[in-house]
């Protein structure tokens, strides 16, 4: 297969499947407890300069507690997959913790509007970027999860999205049809929030799964935060519900309301009031710094953040909103 065209975007991670196999060869398969705190997990598993991937969808089932901890620990020069990134991207931009970025969707918070601070960061020239799409980043994880170095796609061709990506085009050896090929994306660390996990890292999720199955299988290290721990007996009673196996996971942290202020399927809706406040306060740099101090830097952990924003009363209201129990409580 001869390469016909090639995008100019830099490929920030090594797509070589042999190198990945060598890494995974030495990754532990032991069924041992991985219970830890978010603070420990972020401190031990994420190094400055690492490339990180985030599960969920922007402000839905995201590992907020780990994102805040990255800011508190002042991690720097990270690489990042801006895959369906909304509030997660807003948080990481607030700490300027990354300097290279694969872009599918950034800056925006969908129907809520654009983040002024994230936008300013992306217009500053401080971040090196390559362009992709939501699906093509999914496919890059899919290739990595399959243990190969590339995957064909049937989009991006003919656009500037291709031109500024690291993709190439080739003709199919079987049919002659032109396709683009995208390189596998093996992340250093994945951060993911799930509904339930046992102490070994077997995980259950409900609702949409996005690209999380491929992200956790292709990342070298995986930090799981969960709404609640469940016994391993329960996992073994109904193994069809396990979506992530223990041997992919390096750290398990129990963080109730861990996706807050994001949505968690069948648990709580997103806190739209708080997300509006984020967008508004970003327009005033001084007020934004105070806001970050209050909500992230001076918080000991996720509980403190939740308590400062309405605590259990707010969580009850968001649970009622999730289930559309209108009028149950204002």
């Amino acid at each position: 297969m001869d390469v016909i065209e090639k995008g100019v975007g830099r490929i920030f991670t090594d797509p070589d499947a042999n190198n990945a196999r060598e890494y995974f060869r030495h990754k532990s398969r032991a069924l041992v407890s991985k219970l830890t705190t978010v603070k420990e997990a972020v401190s031990e598993l994420i190094k400055d300069g690492d490339y990180i991937s985030i599960g969920g969808f922007g402000a839905n089932r995201i590992a907020t507690s780990a994102l805040h901890e990255i800011l508190r620990q002042k991690k720097k020069n990270l690489g990042l997959a801006g895959h369906t990134a909304t509030h997660d991207f807003q948080v990481l931009s607030a700490g300027k913790v990354f300097n290279r970025l694969d872009i599918a969707y950034i800056i925006g918070l969908e129907a809520r509007g654009l983040s002024p601070n994230a936008r300013a960061y992306m217009q500053s020239g401080e971040v090196e970027v390559s362009e992709w799409t939501n699906y093509t980043l999914s496919v890059r994880y899919k290739a990595a999860a399959a243990g190969v170095s590339f995957h064909p796609i049937r989009n991006m061709m003919g656009t500037d999205t291709f031109k500024f990506s690291g993709a190439v085009t080739v003709n199919c050896p079987f049919t002659g049809q032109k396709y683009a090929l995208v390189p596998a994306l093996y992340s250093d660390v994945a951060l993911i929030h799930v509904h339930e996990a046992d102490i070994y890292g077997n995980c259950r999720m409900r609702g949409i799964i996005m690209s999380d199955l491929d992200i956790v299988r292709s990342s070298k290290k995986v930090i799981v935060t969960c709404e609640r721990l469940i016994p391993n007996d329960e996992i073994r009673r109904e193994p069809t519900q396990t979506l992530i196996p223990y041997y992919c996971v390096d750290a398990v942290c129990e963080v109730p309301y861990g996706s807050y202020p994001g949505n968690m399927y069948q648990e709580y809706f997103s806190d739209e009031e708080h997300l509006r406040e984020w967008l508004k306060v970003e327009k005033d740099p001084e007020a934004f710094q105070k806001f970050l101090d209050k909500n992230i830097y001076s918080c000991q952990d996720h509980f403190e953040y939740v308590e400062r924003n309405g605590g259990i009363r707010k969580m009850q209201m968001l649970r009622q909103k999730e289930w559309l129990f209108r009028g149950a409580r204002q």
């Binding site: 939501n134 999914s138 989009n155 003919g158 396709y179 996005m210 997103s270």
Partner: protein, 256 residues
């Protein structure tokens, strides 16, 4: 004639394009409202799909994210993004609605940047998201957008999402699936399609109160004109009642 606003007119126009039995990939806002309206009027068997994995939900209220719980409310499946996109790539996605900061005469869209330095853009937008994917895979891509000459440009600063590329057969020559591409552009003033040979944007219908001149004056390139240009019928009492009472009672979209 019923009293209605511009957004209501555009949503009703869009809803009428979605025939019963079809499958549409939608985002938040007006496209979602259009799909919900179609489902509650003439197309009860319209399959609504959200890019993050929501398949055939009975959307209870306007989602704020294409991945929030509203997109899987009473759904047939809560799936994955690759599954949804691959369903499109296999050829089972009929329609999608997209938008952008710029659109050219071939329906190419820019939602990435303004300015020439890619690493330090003058204005940065979110990027493709799922737009390039949906536009490449759906048989018919539609755009719901206000008509103005800053948006309808001779040449996009940057092509995020493919339209008919350079017209003619250029889209399929790039490797994109033949037979798929931009279908209708629905604005506050008019409805446009694409002339079958050149694939250039062409006016086919005018909304009540607008003339050809208004549309051309609010477009940065020369629009082709269909031989017969019809008046786009205004929303009916029934459409408006369902849109206001069932689809968007809190006026998140129609109140804009």
């Amino acid at each position: 004639m019923a009293d209605y606003n511009v957004m209501e007119m555009m949503i009703c126009s869009a809803a009428r394009e979605l025939e019963d039995g079809a499958c549409v990939g939608v985002g938040t806002g007006a496209p979602c409202a259009a799909a919900m309206l179609a489902q509650k009027t003439k197309s009860p068997n319209l399959t609504i799909i959200f890019e993050a994995g929501g398949v055939a939900p009975l959307v209870p209220e306007m989602p704020i994210s294409v991945g929030d719980s509203r997109t899987t409310w009473k759904a047939c499946m809560a799936s994955t993004m690759p599954d949804v996109m691959e369903t499109g790539c296999r050829g089972m996605l009929d329609y999608t609605f997209l938008g952008g900061a710029e659109i050219d005469m071939y329906g190419n869209l820019n939602s990435t940047r303004i300015g020439s330095d890619h690493q330090k853009p003058k204005v940065r937008f979110p990027g493709s998201g799922g737009a390039n994917d949906f536009a490449s895979f759906a048989w018919r891509m539609m755009v719901l957008t206000p008509q103005d000459s800053k948006r309808f440009v001779e040449k996009c600063t940057y092509i995020t999402t493919p339209g008919w590329i350079k017209g003619g057969n250029s889209r399929a020559e790039c490797g994109l699936a033949p037979g798929a591409g931009p279908y209708k552009i629905i604005t506050n003033m008019a409805v446009m399609d694409f002339e079958p040979e050149s694939k250039r944007m062409r006016i086919i219908a005018l909304n009540h109160g607008y003339a050809l001149k208004d549309v051309q004056e609010n477009c940065g390139f020369e629009l082709l004109k269909a031989e017969k240009i019809v008046e786009n019928p205004p929303p009916t009492e029934q459409e408006l009642a369902i849109l206001r009472e069932e689809v968007d009672p809190y006026r998140y979209v129609i109140g804009r």
